[in-house]
Amino acid sequence: MLSREQVLHVARLARLELTDEEVEGFGGELSKITDWIDKIGELELADVRPTSHVVEVENALRADEPHESLDPALALRSAPDAADGGFRVPSPGAG
């Protein structure tokens, strides 16, 4: 069972604010899922190479040529708060 502290630690890493109800729910649910996942602990995998990607491509390079890119005004169009050609956010220091 994941403790309340563990759940809150993971939530902090994931930048998620959880309600008390969610903290309690995730403790049980995640434990149940990880118990089930722990079955792969039974396998002998010491000398096995890990697979992070199935496609064997290395260094997918393209020519370094200028090309048209996204117009800044268009890129800012979907922003919740755009100002002076940039994305405006609250101060990291405040609060």
Binding site: R15, L16, E29, K39, L43, P50, A75, P90, G93, G95
Partner: protein, 470 residues
């Protein structure tokens, strides 16, 4: 105009070519049909028909597109509140390829939030109903795209498959769904879930239509450095028998945990395959039973990283706060649904200090073993065949309270995703009036052979999906 709606895409294109059918008339017929849908399948419907050249390869036959494909100026929300109303400034390569080939976008379709789910019930904008039985789910995560084709709202559609999200809803809705080899279709403009697994693909009524749509979608794309395109052009499948074809039936994926009716249909189709000339033998994929556990580490781990971008800064919703950190956490708390939070939590935990080797590291090694199992099997067999989903479409709400029960829907489809190999699901008859699916998987880039085998079986099975299109 109803007659037009009964045409397969291939047939409609032939009529457009011969001058018997105007692309504009086809568009209008489908638009009218789609506008009156009552399954909750569509998230957006186009107003006007685009200009279509009559000689375009896909003849102006309209297509439905899963919500998570970015489409310029058109809502692309990935089924999530955090992207509600988001209209991207660009279009995904796969969709762009279809537009260029002459398949205009008629509508977009609902999905599980960020493609996380097997029932479409994790959609922030409401569930999609299965046209075979409106008290049941269409499967997921591409449930809207599958239901739309099954109900005849569009002749074909596109979705994405990370662990089964094309094949499972195709099976539950009684249509054809193909997950190509990883890298065949560009992921550029697909809102990412798990980048090493995500792959787009077609939903169609017939195998020949799937070949046509796949050929138009696939490309090597400078904007996705993991894209490869296909090694050879996609051919129209023509096979009428399975002479000389060796089918392997993995005992790990064709017995325990599969509903009786699904299993009976599967066995009956194996008999048909023998009649068509195939040899059918039991084979082993010893690590496949661990695929689901490995998948539910790898996919959440990648999702926890991919979904870090939804932070209320560049697009989507924002919950205002006095400081940056509270803005992030508040925005994500309000914007993500329960399953997405669960997977972000699971993935973050699996990647966190002290747990990384035990979970993520081990899961990546299991992935290697699963790919090796397939390699070994393909030494003796042309294809691996299984039931697509362990059961038929279940009732709305039946599995929402138990995440593990929901995850088991992907039991037969996840191993192929982990290995990056192509697999198709074709309709395999009904069980208690509900569709079941037959899955055919082959080695990487064997799409043409898979489509041929699927085509031969399709003709022999003669599935009639018209009941869902009424």
């Amino acid at each position: 105009m109803t007659g037009v709606l009964e045409l397969s895409a291939t047939e409609a294109i032939a009529r457009v070519r011969s001058g018997d059918l105007e692309p504009g008339a086809l568009w209008s017929a489908y638009r009218e049909r789609a506008a009156s849908e009552d399954l909750g399948a569509l998230s957006w419907l186009a107003d006007e028909a685009p200009e279509i050249a009559v000689d375009a390869p896909l003849g102006g036959v309209p297509v439905a597109v899963k919500d998570l494909f970015c489409t310029e100026g058109v809502p692309s929300q990935a089924g999530s509140r955090i992207l509600e109303g988001y209209r991207p400034p660009y279009t995904a390569t796969a969709v762009r390829n279809l537009q260029r080939a002459g398949a205009p976008m008629l509508c977009k379709t609902h999905q599980d939030e960020f493609a996380m789910g097997s029932s479409n019930e994790n959609c922030a904008f409401g569930p999609v109903l299965n046209p075979w039985d409106r008290t049941r789910v269409p499967g997921g995560s591409s449930g809207g795209s599958a239901a739309a084709v099954a109900a005849g709202l569009v002749p074909w559609s596109i979705g994405t498959d990370t662990g089964g999200s094309i094949r499972q809803p195709a099976a539950l809705c009684g249509i054809v769904g193909l997950k190509p080899t990883y890298g065949a279709i560009s992921r550029y403009g697909m809102i990412a879930f798990a980048s090493s697994l995500d792959q787009a693909g077609p939903f169609t009524r017939t195998v020949a239509d799937a070949a046509l749509l796949l050929g138009a979608m696939a490309s090597k794309d400078d904007r996705d450095s993991t894209s490869l395109g296909l090694r050879e052009p996609v051919r129209t499948p023509t096979a009428t028998d399975l002479r000389g074809i060796r089918l392997g039936v993995p005992e790990e994926l064709s017995g325990e945990g599969i509903e009786t009716g699904v299993l009976e249909n599967f066995q009956a189709t194996l008999d048909r395959a023998r009649e068509l000339g195939a040899t059918v033998e039991t084979c082993r994929l010893p690590h496949a039973p661990h695929g689901l556990a490995a998948y539910y580490i790898i996919a959440p781990a990648e999702c926890s990283s991919n979904l870090a971008r939804f932070d209320g800064v560049r697009y989507g919703a924002r919950v205002e706060a006095d400081d940056l950190s509270s803005m992030y956490t508040g925005t994500r708390a309000a914007g993500f649904g329960a399953e997405v939070k669960r997977r972000i939590m699971l993935g973050t935990y699996a990647l966190s200090s002290g747990y990384y080797d035990a979970y993520y590291g081990r899961a990546q090694k299991v992935r290697t073993k699963i790919a090796e199992d397939f390699d070994t099997a393909f030494g003796s067999f042309d294809f691996i065949v299984t039931p697509t989903a362990p059961g038929v479409a279940f009732e709305l709400g039946a599995k929402t309270a138990d995440p593990l029960a929901m995850y088991l829907n992907d039991y037969c489809t996840v191993p192929m995703s982990l290995a990056g190999i192509p697999a198709i699901s074709i309709p395999n008859g009904l069980s208690d009036g509900l569709p079941t699916g037959f899955q055919i998987a082959g080695p990487a880039f064997s799409e043409n052979s898979i489509l041929d085998a699927a085509h031969a079986l399709e003709a022999a099975l003669g599935f009639d999906g018209s009941a869902a299109r009424r």
